[in-house]
């Protein structure tokens, strides 16, 4: 994308809105003229809410379906709270897609370890759709998903459906649960050593809160996965998404254009630095 004015959004309609969790909503938007609905799994759009401002939101839909742009939003800030209230036919401003995607071409032929925490499942879902759309190109898929409690599990029916597929294992763990929960309780990194996988032939894609990704990446290293085969989706303040405003810098990296998906060998060392 190299429009003459990459700063200016284009108006698109909300097609559908669905409540996923108490404060989490999925919005389907009509695709813009600029991208025509095409995106790479892991990329994000800048969504503008009239009078409030723009925020980066990852795409969470099927990259094979270009007739809509799907975003899953947690209503926590002024813009995201506003986004979550939009009804079908309302308009938002759209710029994008921006950023790097998950390494799906490089991962062909390998087993995949997809590790999500909380809302981090949303940016990984397009990668899962892509794998399912091109199932023969990938080996075994293991999805590890951690949330705060059973009530915070996103896309629950889909997780169940994926778990029923051949060569696709879904492991869900929660930080704490009541006695009606029959699944696992514990943190995501602790599950890594219990998995049977070939670390030499596995590509790991991790998305979640930074601290969860940090511990997960080190559990993956301990299990023998190379830093270059571990990918994280980083989050920093993004204003322009074009590498110009400077806000999203993480060391030499502009998270908006060099990321958000970055291999762990570029991040290790800096991730554990306080306030870097």
């Amino acid at each position: 994308m190299n429009s003459p004015d990459a700063w200016m959004p284009e108006p698109v309609r909300v097609l559908r809105r669905k409540q996923e969790l108490e404060t989490t909503w999925t919005l389907e938007l009509e695709p813009g003229q600029a991208s025509k609905g095409a995106f790479a799994p892991g990329q994000f759009n800048m969504l503008y809410v009239f009078g409030v401002g723009e925020i980066p939101i990852s795409l969470s839909g099927d990259p094979g379906q270009t007739d809509r742009l799907v975003h899953t939003v947690r209503a926590v800030g002024p813009a995201s709270r506003q986004l979550a209230t939009l009804r079908p036919m309302a308009t938002v401003g759209l710029r994008g897609p921006f950023g790097t995607g998950w390494p799906l071409a490089a991962a062909e032929g390998s087993d995949l370890l997809i590790i999500a925490g909380g809302l981090g499942l949303a940016p990984l879902r397009p990668a899962i759709y892509h794998v399912l759309n091109n199932r023969e190109r990938y080996g075994r898929v293991v999805l590890l998903y951690g949330t705060r409690s059973p009530d915070d599990i996103l896309f629950r029916e889909q997780l169940d459906a994926w778990n029923r597929l051949p060569d696709f294992d879904v492991h869900i763990t929660v930080d704490h649960a009541g006695s009606d929960w029959i699944g696992k309780v514990g943190v995501v990194p602790a599950l890594v050593p219990t998995l049977a996988f070939d670390p030499e032939d596995t590509v790991a894609m991790v998305c979640g809160p930074e601290i969860m990704m940090r511990f997960t990446a080190s559990a993956l290293r301990d299990a023998g996965v190379d830093d270059q085969s571990i990918y994280l989706s980083m989050e920093r303040n993004m204003k322009c998404a074009l590498g110009h405003c400077g806000h999203c810098q993480f060391g030499s990296t502009f998270v908006c254009k060099d990321g958000p998906v970055l291999s762990f060998d570029r991040l290790r060392g800096l991730l554990s630095l306080k306030e870097f």
Binding site: M1, N2, P4, D5, A6, W7, M8, P9, E10, P11, Y48, F50, G51, V52, G53, E54, V76, G77, M89, A90, T91, V92, G93, E235, R236, N237, K239, C240, L242, G243, H244, C245, G246, H247, Q249, G251, S252, F254, K257, L273, K274, E275, F276
Partner: protein, 379 residues
């Protein structure tokens, strides 16, 4: 010197002819003037408006205009302004959103009146800074149209520096004091007890064309030699110097150095250094809407990595402490900038030292991390 390298020697009248020639061509001429007890960049039409006979005294947290013993027009170092404010203005309107038919949004770019600027007296460090901002704002996938429009139309009259300030260190950053390329015309002020001339050389076709219209005399070896003496004298008078070492490696290997705590004790996180820095480019987006809620405008204004909101992600700022913000600023300027854009982000102009209210000196901070600050050295 390239094909456009025509040269001549002009007088003060010749300089006035240059200002006139630029104005005639439709340029908005901007140059140094005295205002509010500082030398700032502002519109200029007469040679008499230049700060004749003024110089400046600069040190950490200190700037004062002083009278010179001569009538030099460019006998001072850089002031608080840089050309950044013209090419990359502090505030630019981006677009307007309007609600039409109840709920449909319409986006319209804000009209961007980009003047054709002619800058008078662009010093070597400033030319280097413009080159750096060119790289940042024009040479990636998404060139900034606002910067590009201004930059591509700008006419640069550079200046070989005849006065090093107390906080100058361009020589150790290899950016000055002599101008090497990237200008339309370059002046060297040649002043002795009887004569006041300018050696003028062209660096572009348009520059050569304008030069040919100016009344002047032939530049001789003596003039060129005098011009070389000017910059060599300036080179010897640099008030500061950046240590000669692999600074990116030094800083990135010392991200937990105790010196960051030390500088955090002094730094007020006021963002002055980033505002006066001619290469700092960070901006934020601002949205304003009218009272009726029908139109909203998005604009871009300078921001600083010293501001609390700069690194805000839901939940809080990534860089909450002054220590982390100073570290971000300095490691970006001197280290990660090299990875991102191929050069240091510092040109050695010294503004961040002069305009820091507490006189923090980044060359001294580098030296302290390098570990060669001698005991008892004043902080």
């Amino acid at each position: 010197m390239d094909d456009h390298g025509v040269s001549s020697v002009i007088s003060l009248d010749g300089l006035q002819c240059l200002l006139d020639a630029l104005a005639r061509r439709g340029y908005q001429v901007v140059g140094p003037r005295v205002r509010d007890q500082a030398i700032v960049y502002d519109e200029l039409s007469r040679v008499e408006e230049l700060p004749a006979g003024w110089t400046d005294e600069q040190d950490g947290g200190h700037y004062r205009l002083k009278r010179r013993n001569d009538q030099a027009l460019f006998g001072y170092a850089v002031g608080p302004h840089s050309w950044k404010q013209f090419l990359h203005p502090p505030r630019v309107g981006l677009w307007q959103a309007t609600v039409v038919n109840e709920d449909r949004l319409h986006f319209e770019p804000v009209r961007d009146e980009a003047p054709r600027y002619a800058f008078i007296g662009v010093r070597a460090c400033e030319l280097a800074a413009i080159t750096i901002q060119d790289r940042v704002l024009m040479e990636d996938n998404h060139a900034d149209p606002h910067y590009r429009r201004r930059r591509e139309q700008a006419f640069l009259v550079a200046l070989n520096c005849s006065e090093a300030g107390g906080t100058c260190f361009c020589d150790s950053m290899n950016t000055g004091p002599d101008v090497k390329s990237g200008y339309d015309l370059v002046l060297t002020e040649l002043l002795d007890s009887d004569t006041h001339h300018f050696l003028i050389q062209s660096g572009s076709a348009e520059g050569a064309e304008i030069l040919s219209e100016l009344p002047g005399e032939l530049a001789t070896d003596a003039h060129f030699s005098a011009a070389r003496d000017v910059v060599e004298r300036t080179r010897r008078n640099m008030g500061r110097s950046m240590p000669k070492t692999d600074i990116p490696a030094l800083l990135m290997d010392n991200l937990e150095h105790a010196r960051w705590d030390d500088v955090a004790e002094r730094c007020l996180s006021c963002a002055n250094c980033t505002m006066v820095c001619p290469t700092c480019f960070c901006t934020t987006m601002e949205d304003t809407s009218d009272l009726e809620g029908v139109t909203a405008e998005s604009s871009r204004r300078w921001d600083s990595c010293f501001n609390a909101d700069f690194s805000y992600i839901h939940g809080g700022s990534v860089r909450n402490s002054t220590r982390s913000r100073y570290r971000q600023w300095m490691t970006h300027k001197l280290a990660t900038w090299v990875d991102q854009f191929g050069t240091s982000g510092c040109v050695g102009c010294g503004r961040c030292i002069t305009w820091c209210p507490v006189g923090i000196d980044l060359t001294e901070e580098v030296r302290a991390i390098q570990g060669d600050s001698s005991p008892g050295e004043q902080t």
